[in-house]
């Protein structure tokens, strides 16, 4: 049961500001990268990579998963896994139809 009886983690203000700063930097970076006009799959890969890094920062440090019970992190990862399963299995249909949407 509640094995961890230790004090809750308290981040320092400096840590939080650093993470916030990094997030803002990455936001600007992703806009800049999108303006470079990279060729097709690369631009999406770049945008999503940056988005995932940002998501990692928010989840780990703002949401405290870095210090928290591993089970909570597992819930987040699990949700993403199921989301990817949903998308990829749906794509098995939509990408392989002979005629995607007949009238178009």
């Amino acid at each position: 049961m509640s094995e961890h009886n230790h004090e809750h983690h308290i981040s320092t203000a400096k840590q939080l500001w650093l993470v916030g700063g990094a997030l803002i930097f990455l936001t600007i970076l992703t806009v800049v990268v999108s303006n470079l006009g990279l060729p097709s799959p690369l631009d999406i890969i770049a945008a999503l990579t940056i988005a995932f890094v940002k998501a990692y920062l928010v989840a780990s440090f703002f949401m405290g998963l870095y210090w928290d019970s591993k089970f909570n992190a597992m819930l987040l990862v699990g949700a993403l896994v199921f989301f990817f399963l949903m998308v990829s299995v749906t794509l098995l249909d939509t990408l392989y139809r002979v005629d995607a949407v007949p009238s178009f």
């Binding site: 049961m1 203000a13 988005a51 998501a55 703002f62 199921f82 794509l91």
Partner: protein
């Protein structure tokens, strides 16, 4: 924390053994709820991916109608509000009620800024007739730029995604106001700040969703 006294602290509900168990339960419960939220938005992301794979030209063409600058500003606003929520939790943990209230107030303000910017973005689009579904009635210039007959599918998805996200922001504002009032009554301290913590988790998730919406909707071209 060894040897609890024989009485519960006032904030611990009768069916919990102690404060810690109550806190951990609330947090776990919130995380499970966030799993719900992720799959709820997941349906929309799935629709987005399916149609993007089918009609890539449509998406790049339609995304031009979205304003990168304002989208980017809104992203930074939301990130700022996530930061202040994290600071609010820190204040609560350190028994600084004043800091807690100030941080909540800034968060509420930033959330409102987000909604105002969103409002002007919607307003601008509706003005040009870029409205969802049967209200689709673009002006001739727009029609010229957006020649694809399926353009309103993109905007159907756009309005659903940002609309549902916006509703979450509104709910978040409501929760923050509630926290602000309770903080004013001195309900929170380093021993008990569970509502601040779990509302914070919710708010960060709203931010997380936007972190993905922004590049997917605004930055693809």
């Amino acid at each position: 924390m060894a040897n609890h006294s024989a009485t519960h602290p006032a904030h611990v509900q009768h069916h919990f053994v102690d404060s810690d168990q109550q806190f951990e339960s609330a947090k776990l419960g919130m995380w499970v709820f966030l799993v719900n939220e992720i799959l709820f938005f997941g349906g929309l992301f799935c629709a987005y991916i399916v149609f993007r794979a089918w009609y890539p030209e449509l998406f790049t063409q339609a995304a031009l109608e979205l304003n990168k600058l304002w989208g980017g500003v809104n992203t930074i606003v939301l990130i700022g509000s996530s930061l202040t929520v994290a600071m609010a939790i820190r204040s609560a943990q350190k028994n600084q009620t004043k800091g807690l209230r100030i941080n909540l107030l800034i968060t509420i303000a930033l959330a409102c800024v987000f909604m105002v910017i969103k409002y002007f973005e919607y307003e601008h689009k509706l003005h040009l007739g870029i409205a969802p579904g049967s209200f689709w009635n673009p002006t001739p210039e727009i029609l010229h730029e957006l020649s694809d007959p399926r353009a309103n599918i993109f905007f159907g998805i756009y309005y659903m995604m940002t609309g549902v996200h916006g509703l979450h922001v509104l709910v978040g504002i409501g929760l923050m106001i509630w926290l602000y009032i309770r903080a004013g009554k001195g309900h929170f301290n380093s021993e008990y700040y569970t509502p601040v913590e779990i509302t914070g988790l919710y708010w960060h998730l709203v931010d997380l969703i936007w972190i993905f919406l922004f590049p997917l909707l605004y930055l693809i071209e």
